[in-house]
């Protein structure tokens, strides 16, 4: 199917029908980690790599490290603390991030 965005100018501003935009991966390019005040610090010695933090993270900001343990994605993690809350072995601590 071919999408017709219906580009037109109104009052000097370019618009599309119903504000539709071509999706060009801008979500990945726009880093949102800067919104964070707290960051989750994982104690890899205690982490059992169960992956529950990865399942619960609302922003897909947990990833598996080289050692098989989980850590946070600095570019997108907002520091909500859900991972620390759901961790069954309590190996994640939320700490104030100094910038």
């Amino acid at each position: 199917m071919t999408v017709d965005l219906g580009r037109k100018k109104v009052g000097g501003v370019e618009l599309t029908t119903g504000c539709v935009l071509p999706s060009d991966g801008s979500t990945q390019r726009t880093k949102t980690g800067g919104w964070r005040a707290m960051k989750p610090v994982t104690d890899h010695a205690k982490c059992t790599a169960c992956g529950i933090c990865w399942v619960y993270c609302p922003d897909a900001s947990r990833f598996k490290d080289k050692d098989g343990k989980f850590d946070f994605v600095a570019d997108f993690c907002k520091g909500c603390g859900i991972c620390a809350d759901v961790c069954p072995v309590k190996c994640i601590k939320m700490v104030v991030e100094e910038k």
């Binding site: 199917m1 071919t2 999408v3 017709d4 965005l5 219906g6 037109k8 109104v10 009052g11 501003v13 618009l15 599309t16 029908t17 119903g18 504000c19 539709v20 935009l21 071509p22 999706s23 801008s26």
Partner: protein, 390 residues
Amino acid sequence: MKEVMEASHAVAEAVKAIEPDVIAAYPITPQTHIVERLSDFVADGEIKSEYIRVESEFAAISACLGASATGVRSYTSTSSQGLALMHEVLYITSGMRLPVCMSEVNRSLSAPINIWNDHQDSISERDTGWIQLYVETAQEAYDMTVMQFKISEDKRVLLPSMVCMDGFTLSHVYEPVDILSKEQVNSFLPKYKPVHAILDPKEPLTQGPIGFPTHYMEFRKELCDVIDNSLNVIGEVMADYSKKFPVTIKDSRPERYFHTEEYMMADADVVLVAMGSVCGTIKEVIDQLRAKGVKAGLFKIITYRPFPKEIIKKKLAGYKKVAIIEKALSPGFGGPLYGEIATALYDASSRPQLRNFIVGLGGRDVKLEHIEKIINMTLKGEGKLEEWMF
């Protein structure tokens, strides 16, 4: 095929022939018979629509919006509190230019709780950017349902629409209706071809993004232009439908559909303006009074949004006395339709004397005596500008 049926069932028959890809609705009196029947059609395999049983009207309209955003035809129906609960999503649907179609079965709003008919629910949603068409008879309800899909899905429009029909006094009343065959409906209404809202992994889109102060105002202007221009498309669709499917049941609908209908207006000393099923009662009274020499006429408004300002101005400007009869209210102002008719006539070369009559709220019967009294009061200039017919 001519059959005597409820307006609700006539609408269900129209939707059956149209066969939307997605139907999402929540039952609410007096709309229930429409969705009940559609649910039967789906369960019995008579139509292949996906019927989503939702937990509220907010979910129903959200499901329709979501379905429409993927590029398929979606339909819902509601009444009263259900429409009020949809309020937030109504704006989103028109802003995203999604051609969702709705049957709105008019019912009052609480409090006090009341399940009966008036127009307060849909008039409250007049500013949402939806097209609103008001019908008088079961035949009109049927025809307008077929037409609304063609209007909404037109590339020049791409706006959601609601066909507003009176609860009980129309929805539950049995009238003769001429039902088209599926082939006839298909020949009039082609398969929906989405233009801007399509779900295709090969061509991913962002829909409903943020509109910063640099863009928001222009988007709203565009929406206003589109709904204004839809007046021509609605006119075209009405003319096309009337030509393709001529009247088969006498007095069941206007011979040629248009934004407005004129009844005995040519030589009238007093013109009543109204919308919906009360027009049937008004026509009856006009016939009776004409026999006694009283020259009254009716100006029925079908297209309420977009509001046909120029047509109204042209048609009403020459008359001396005009009474606006309405089943809606803007507390602190008066009758909304009165306000809009007055606005349309403000810069007319000769303005009629206007009167506003509030009738039939919460299912109060609008009797022949009420209409006769309205005509007499307007002719004699009795009473206040705004009168309530209890």
